[in-house]
């Protein structure tokens, strides 16, 4: 058998890893902490945006977000009660607790945290307005590996 062909065993192992949230592609990076993503969080939240790491805001911000999903930044992101409960528990358990994220950012926006603004202070106003960027929430516009939880600066490509 060719070495590049995944065997059934490989597929089963990958499936198991994915289902337990340990697959490499489902990690979130935040202020030096890398945590495996809850598959349900990936499935429900990353359907519309990058799977933002819960470590980037305090639990109070996440609680406020999870309690207001029917009006979620201008869209209806409502969930069924069981899914809501599971995701809420997970984001709260992994919310930022250390000093840098102890304050709730305005409007529960990660992009308004002191940390985010400092990290992006060299990005010009014109860059933020590019059609390919449009929103500071669009991490993947510049962080090419954002969908894999990789925000390493070597993987940044700012569109023109």
């Amino acid at each position: 058998m060719s070495r590049t062909t995944p065997t059934l065993l490989h597929r089963v192992l990958i499936g198991l890893l994915a289902s337990t949230g340990l697959a490499h592609s489902a990690m979130a990076e935040g202020n030096g902490r890398t945590i495996p993503l809850l598959p349900l969080y990936q499935q429900e939240c990353a359907a519309c945006h990058v799977a933002y790491s819960p470590t980037l805001m305090p639990a109070a911000s996440w609680t406020h977000i999870m309690n207001n999903l029917p009006t979620h930044f201008g869209t209806d992101a409502s969930l069924d009660p069981a899914t809501l409960k599971e995701i809420s528990g997970w984001v709260n358990a992994h919310a930022g607790t250390y000093k840098r994220v102890s304050e709730m950012p305005p409007q529960d926006r990660i992009t308004r945290t002191v940390w985010f603004e400092r990290k992006h202070r060299e990005v010009s106003a014109a860059t933020w307005k590019l059609p390919a960027v449009k929103s500071a929430a669009n991490c993947a516009a510049c962080h090419t590996q954002a969908d894999k939880g990789d925000f390493n600066e070597h993987n940044i490509r700012i569109p023109r």
């Binding site: 519309c48 945006h49 990058v50 029917p70 930044f73 201008g74 869209t75 209806d76 992101a77 409502s78 969930l79 069924d80 390919a132 960027v133 449009k134 929103s135 929430a137 669009n138 993947a140 516009a141």
Partner: protein
């Protein structure tokens, strides 16, 4: 495997039959086809769907900022783009994306959310049937 064991043992036969029945029931509860879902909405609507009406509904705005096309594209046979986050949205027409409209709960969840965003209320079974009937007409 020695199949004669099944012939000899009624218990084994009964167990195998039960397992098969369970597997069939389970897959029937979760999976659906776009045509089956359309059948369900059509039955609830009580009248035949009109694909052209579905296309119009999809493309125009309904008193709010977004239309369905804002994120899915005018004809959703290729990757769209979320109107606020920019995240790519896989093609919606079932002939271009085999995953679409194969899960009733998922379909209902997205109708609920997106109709609320675009129309400001839930869509009626008739609107859903029109829309899905149009999407099904889109072929490569």
């Amino acid at each position: 495997m020695n199949c004669s064991a099944f012939k000899r043992s009624p218990l084994l036969r009964a167990t195998a039959a039960t397992m098969l029945a369970c597997a069939t029931l389970l897959s029937a509860a979760q999976a659906a086809t776009p045509t089956e879902l359309l059948g369900g909405y059509t039955a609830l609507a009580g009248s035949a769907p009109v694909p052209a009406r579905g296309q119009e509904f999809f493309t125009k705005t309904h008193g709010k900022e977004w239309s369905c096309s804002s994120c899915h594209g005018a004809v959703p046979i290729q990757t769209g783009k979320h109107a606020s986050t920019g995240k790519p949205i896989a093609a919606l027409a079932p002939a271009f994306n085999a995953e679409r409209f194969t899960d009733k709960a998922k379909t209902e969840k997205w109708f609920r959310r997106n109709c609320n965003d675009v129309v400001g209320r839930e869509c009626t079974p008739s609107e859903k049937a029109d829309l899905l009937s149009w999407l099904i007409t889109l072929k490569p």
